[in-house]
Symmetry: C2
Subunit: 892 residues, 2 copies
């Protein structure tokens, strides 16, 4: 008989921590904690296979499930000394989802299940606390109705508010048992009204309803969105955890809280958590009451007045501290735990590897490696390369003028600047239109995820450091300020008010997620430096990786930034980018529009000194490192004058009529410029352009070498190569230019010539082409366009449909299409190496900064990647992880 | 010691007919003829290896050559009974080029070499014919100066004309020995004037000058052009043939001529030739004197008055006839021979396989197979598939009104219509501008080749059936009329006059190359039928070939033409082509411009009945044969309205404002439409379009099956497939449409779904894609564009440079790029077959009608090719030859 249910509690468990796939993360860790002898309320896990079965069989459970659940319930009862559904001493349970990967806020939870009128009376009698019993019952009806029956929570909140108003009560806690019992009656009446059926009184009916709701919630819109954003397969399914209730709402000697073994925002090695006295779990996470600090140190640091757990319940705190230390050692990672204290006794409800900011991730990994808890390789492997992006995000310049509107909790670090919007939908549509926005909400809920994703940063006026907004924002690496109580938000009016200042939708603010300050207007932001733990981690990554990392850069600023971020050279200098400046484009246009060689020669003579100076500066900045300079590549008409004034200007410079210039512009029009007159085709037709560029490169290289004393090794790259004979023809002109410069200067420039592989044909003919190429750079942007027949500029009308429907595994412009483009890169690399051992192979373009693509090209054996300067650290880390993945895992 | 020289003559030869590569075509055949005991003047061949050596060593001859030539000269002298350079009885020789492949008119020839003043006197004495001696000497100086010294022929013609005028002589023959001797003196003076050096008197100096000139002429512009047009490698080199002179100009018992064993224009089995009494070889070919017929039958047929060779020299004629019959049997092909009759004795100067029109080629091959001279396979293998094009060229409709301006010789059959031009350069530039032209010349020379290539047809006013114009035009398959003496051409004034009619450049004429009539204006032309020998040959080809041949067709006219030409199905029906008609494009535009599904549905409902009727008609015409229908493919904006009136019309039909239509048109604009929203992307985004088309196909198929009684097997092809999942998604819609039609009609349509492979990625992923595809059609037009990153529309500005410089082996849009596109086709075919044995594989597009491409895809093992209807016979023949080439050669 198939086993669908695994029990745990009482110091033992049927399952183990290794059974994550079957039990889900929460279930596996509960089994683990039970086996470790930690105080876990007894319970059982219904496996993920039941979820799979449920969806594979028209939402039916397997036949044997019922009897296995009954047996497991009996076992809980045995350990807890109570029986589920028992009239005299009823066992209450929680029902929680538990997927393989943590999905915070995505799945639904029901507490206090098993309660009905009879049980309430029994519990009131057994505990001597009628208010507790009624409060638990009221919470249960509300939560169950929301999650299982589909009645919105606010409908019950309205009833509760009405009851409070009737009785002149300010807070929930001001309602006594009688008031709560009256509320329960109203709740039940509302359920009949809303669903036409009475609220289920039978505990077993409640249980199966809740289990079914958990499984159903696996397919709700929030869960689907989260899985899509986090690449979690739908097939994994979720488990369901049924566990004996323990009560944090049994009075002032009871509490409930969440805590991290280290600070999830900064990574500091100290317990970081929050709790509420006399409350149940969802009160903390929901952010409705502002929670208290777990440790005294944290309380003092935050300047909070409410006492810490360490102070109010020292014994329970000590037990919690020891348990957390044990768990961190056991899992060798920072833990995020949930606990409840029932009448002074600590119960552990959950442990999992904690989400953290990138900064915290780096610090934790580095410190754990220093502590000997993990190896340096583990530390390198643990950081999600893409998350470094947030460390490379700007911070508010300390020297900037700060017009502080309000201050909240620094819930997720980094600075964000944007126009304020007041709904997730508005955030999403603004972002789609290319506008940067800050999402402002009283508090966020899972329904806001898409808007948080679209926003630059998030600001809430309620909730703490572990509120939904804070947790999700940190996970996303977005700056976030929570609980900025000094701000009043009117979402309907689309305004936010602090003191006498009112901001409206579209007004710009800057969030300083590191200080918690909300600044009016756009503050000056600053790029971070790679120092401290980050620098140390990057050093370990550099030791681990095989591939070199270069940057794509052509301006001095970008080249300097690239060096600062650890680039080991320039992998792509796009010479045409040097000519879009207003004072240079005229010469470029003259060259393009000249209709004979003499006209081109005159324009080229103007361009030569500019390019020579550009290259000399670039070589000087990159002294000692290789620099790859690509000859003019784009369709020439990108430079063409369009407006009448521009045409007149060019006509004057060329000494031609405007009509003639206009005719030449029309001649140069192309139907498919991507497949047109560009790349190597330009020097094949007009060799004098390559002559000039080669000369500028070689003269600039000699100038820079003279200036720095370091010899310059220039790499001249011919773009869009199609055939070996074509490259040979262009190379002959480059070599001739080098000979000419050598004769004139009395010194021979040092250089190699290489090919940019952007066409399927070039990848297939790599063997022959490599005979004239000392290096290849795979230009996978264009190779993607040609291999997939997909214009990047035009794909917006259909490519999203392909990704959404799963017709392509990912956006091929973000992550390399391994099956198509990737195979051509592999073929090209193999053939080039076979024909010319030692040929240097790299990749440039967007994929050079994408971790998945970097892992792919490491597997193909390329020598280097080149990416935008700010992605260099990401590429360094991703390259290290790719190297480590090929080796057997090491341990500390 | 390397052997550089091979002798022949006196009934034996050092070389053999098999040594073509070494001796050149002429040399090998001279050796052959000598070995056969035919009357060949003794001589020797300097091998092609000397040419190779000459160019590889800075135009120096190998060291041993001189002594080998001297020995060979001595041997000629021994056989001829004379000595080269002997004062008393000098041996004269001809020096002729002889490349491996025949290159008529491309290489230079020198006759009468060895003549000088002393030799002239000696010959005059020996022959008793002072005029003959002087005439030979005069010719020699003129020819040698032209070929070796670079003095243009017309300069000597001027001197000769001056001499004739001075002496009141009408023709050359009216000049006596004294006059010719005076002319020789003037010639020599002119040589000193032109070159600063006297004409060489030393026979050995003359010989080496001529040998050097022949080798040099291998690299002259005419030769280079001819090689390029005929794909002859430069590395082959040419041989030089030195041969004892025989004289057709020894008086009225002497003659020279050329003849074919069968009629080169019609293929008729009868000697066809021309000769001139008392003349040397070049007089016939130059077309200056109008020659006489060789046979009496031909004279009668031509209505000529000048007597035939058969009549005037019956003995020599009989010897000639027997020799020609022997040669045809020996070579098993129609021979083109040159002969000279010296004082009644026949000498054979050359034999080679004769050039012929395509019609003649077909008739000769079929008749030789019937005669048992060659096998049917040989007959099939002998026809150049591309040459069939001229048989498929139109002829003048017999019912057309014929406004005959003049009549000439029907030198190359077929009809051509175009604007007249009077120079080769004008012809070329007009053709480049897309205009159809007829080249009109007094006579043509090798310098006109490029213009003849560019023209639709050629008209000359001088020269016979074997004149330069006639020979070259037949080789090119161009209609040609020669010797239209009734027309006077003024090339300077760009007019041609016949009687009182004057036509100017740009006026249109029609040439009927089959009747020799020049018609004023554009006559109605007609496509030929495939009957008689052509039909028989195609039948043999069909027996020999492995691949099927289909046609690309969508109109009923094209489909009928395709069946007529033997297509075995439709390989590509482009459904969008059915919608460019004025009465249909509006519905198409409505569909494209609708901005919601309802709008599209309304337009699609209008289109459905049109498509259903189209398909039903196509299936009916093609009853019993497979028909592949491609779903809508091109970028939708090809259908967009551009002019205001069109926009207004669409707006009205859609019930939308013009402004909205205009905005939607702008939205649909693409930067690179070739890589944009087209192909399978259309049904992925708008599945309802595929639904409609699939329904129309299935309903049309059932309608046609009901009408014809033959079940229809529809092949539904999805264009521009990118990924397996994409094809599966589109196929699911097609299958659903089939299910719906089956339910409604109570009968299930028979169909398969396939993929058009046009993207490199699709070729690489062919294995997965074939799981949903019963067939693949490689769309090599688009596959060329994507694999090479080459827009067909835009490549005109640089692709010709690539082909001219040899950077690409050929225009990849004409002949498949075997190394790039071809490799992807090979990969795609292999992977598809591995994943789905029995998957049907074909190719459609221009390459499907190109013989070289057909041979390539036969090698890859594709099942069929599909091409335009008028190229179907070419494809059938090319496919047969590809099959035969893979088998061992058979013999009759």
């Amino acid at each position: 008989m198939a086993r669908w249910v695994y029990g745990f509690g009482g110091g033992k468990a049927d399952g183990t921590g290794a059974m994550r796939d079957l039990l889900g993360g929460k279930g596996a860790n509960l089994a683990d904690m039970a086996s470790l002898g930690l105080p876990v309320p007894p319970g059982f896990t219904i496996t993920t296979e039941v979820c799979t079965h449920y969806y594979a069989n028209g939402r039916q459970f397997p036949a044997e499930l019922k009897s296995q659940v009954e047996a497991a319930l009996a076992e809980i009862g045995r350990v807890a000394g109570k029986a589920f559904g028992d009239a005299a001493d009823p066992l209450l349970v929680s029902v929680r989802s538990g997927a393989r990967a943590s999905m915070p806020g995505m799945m639904d939870t029901v507490l206090n299940l098993g309660l009905n009128d009879a049980a309430r009376v029994a519990i009131a009698e057994a505990t001597g606390d009628a208010r507790f019993a009624a409060d638990s019952h009221r919470r249960f009806i509300q939560m169950y109705s929301d999650v299982v029956l589909g009645i919105e929570r606010h409908e019950f909140e309205d009833i509760l508010d009405h009851e409070k108003a009737r009785r002149g009560a300010a807070e929930d806690v001001d309602l006594d048992a009688a008031a709560l019992e009256a509320t329960i009656a109203r709740y039940k009446a509302h359920v009949i009204e809303a669903t036409g059926k009475p609220f289920p009184e039978d505990p077993r009916e409640q249980l199966w309803g809740a289990v079914g709701a958990v499984f159903s919630s696996w397919m709700n819109a929030r869960a689907i969105t989260y899985r899509k954003l986090n690449s979690i397969p739908e097939a994994w399914g979720t488990a369901v955890n049924v566990q004996a209730m323990v009560f944090g709402n049994r009075g002032d000697d009871s509490a409930t809280g969440v805590a991290f073994t280290r600070n999830p925002s900064t990574g500091q090695r100290a317990i970081y958590g929050e709790f509420l006295v006399n409350a149940q779990g969802e009160d903390v996470v929901a952010g409705i009451r502002t929670p208290q600090n777990v440790t005294e140190a944290a309380r003092i640091a935050a300047g909070a007045t409410a006492p810490s757990l360490e102070t109010v319940m020292p014994a329970a705190f000590a037990r919690l501290r020891d348990t957390m230390a044990l768990l961190e050692r056991h899992y060798r990672d920072m833990q995020d735990i949930e606990f409840t204290i029932e009448r002074g006794k600590l119960w552990m409800l959950q442990t999992r590897n904690g989400k953290r900011t990138a900064a915290a991730a780096v610090r934790i990994a580095v410190e754990m490696a220093r502590e000997g808890l993990i190896s340096r390789e583990d530390a390198v492997a643990r950081i999600e390369p893409a998350s470094l992006d947030q460390l490379l995000h700007p911070t508010v310049d300390p020297a900037a003028k700060r017009d502080v509107m309000a201050t909240g909790l620094p819930a997720s670090p980094g600075a964000a600047c944007g126009a304020i919007v007041f709904s997730a939908d508005d955030a999403e549509s603004a972002a789609r239109a290319g506008r940067r926005v800050v999402l402002v909400r009283v508090e966020t809920s899972p329904e806001d995820i898409h808007g948080m994703h679209a926003a630059e940063g998030i600001l809430t006026t309620r909730g703490g450091m572990t509120s939904h907004a804070a947790v999700v924002a940190r996970g996303m690496g977005k700056p976030c300020i929570c609980g900025a109580g000094g701000i009043r938000v009117d979402a309907a009016a689309k305004t936010m008010v602090a003191g006498d200042m009112t901001l409206r939708e579209g007004d710009v603010v800057t969030l300083d997620g590191s200080s918690g300050e909300v600044l009016v207007g756009a503050a000056t932001l600053r790029r971070p430096e790679l120092t401290g733990e980050f620098g140390e981690l990057m050093g370990w990554a550099d030791s681990a990786r095989r591939m070199k990392v270069r940057a794509n850069a052509e301006t001095p600023a970008d080249a300097k930034a690239a060096r600062g971020f650890g680039a080991e050279g320039i992998g792509l200098c796009r010479t045409e980018h040097m000519f879009f400046d207003a004072d240079r484009i005229l010469a470029m246009r003259e060259m393009i529009l000249a209709d004979d060689e003499a006209g081109r020669a005159a324009a080229l003579a103007k361009i030569l000194p500019m390019q020579r100076a550009d290259f000399a500066e670039l070589f000087t900045i990159m002294a000692g490192l290789p620099v790859t300079i690509r000859l003019l590549d784009p369709p020439l008409h990108e430079f063409l004058p369009q407006r009448d004034a521009e045409i007149a200007e060019v006509a004057k410079a060329l000494g031609a009529s405007e009509e003639r210039v206009r005719r030449r512009v029309a001649e140069l029009h192309e139907f498919n410029p991507m497949l047109g007159f560009r790349g190597a085709r330009i020097p094949v037709r007009y060799p004098e352009i390559a002559d000039m560029q080669a000369r500028a490169i070689f003269e600039g290289a000699l100038d820079a070498a003279a200036r720095t004393g370091a010899p310059v090794e220039a790499e001249v790259m011919v773009p869009l190569v199609l055939a070996a004979a074509e490259l040979e023809a262009v190379k002959a002109r480059i070599d001739a230019a080098a000979d000419a410069v050598a004769r004139e200067r009395g010194e021979r420039p040092r250089y190699t010539v290489g090919a940019m592989i952007e066409l399927p044909r070039a990848a297939l003919r790599a063997g022959e082409i490599s005979r004239a190429a000392a290096f290849f750079s795979f230009g996978t942007n264009d190779l993607t366009q040609t291999t997939l027949g997909l214009s990047r500029d035009d794909s917006g009308s259909f490519l999203p449909t392909y990704v959404a429907k799963g017709l392509l595994p990912a956006d091929p412009f973000v992550t390399i299409d391994a099956e198509g483009v990737g195979e051509l890169v592999r073929i090209g690399a193999e053939r080039a190496r076979a024909a010319r051992p030692g040929v240097k192979l790299g990749i440039c373009g967007e994929h050079g900064g994408d971790p998945a693509s970097i892992a792919f090209v490491d597997g193909v054996g390329l020598d280097y990647v080149s990416c935008s300067p700010f992605r260099v650290p990401i590429a360094r880390l991703a390259a290290a992880q790719a190297s480590l993945k090929r080796k057997p895992a090491s341990s500390a």
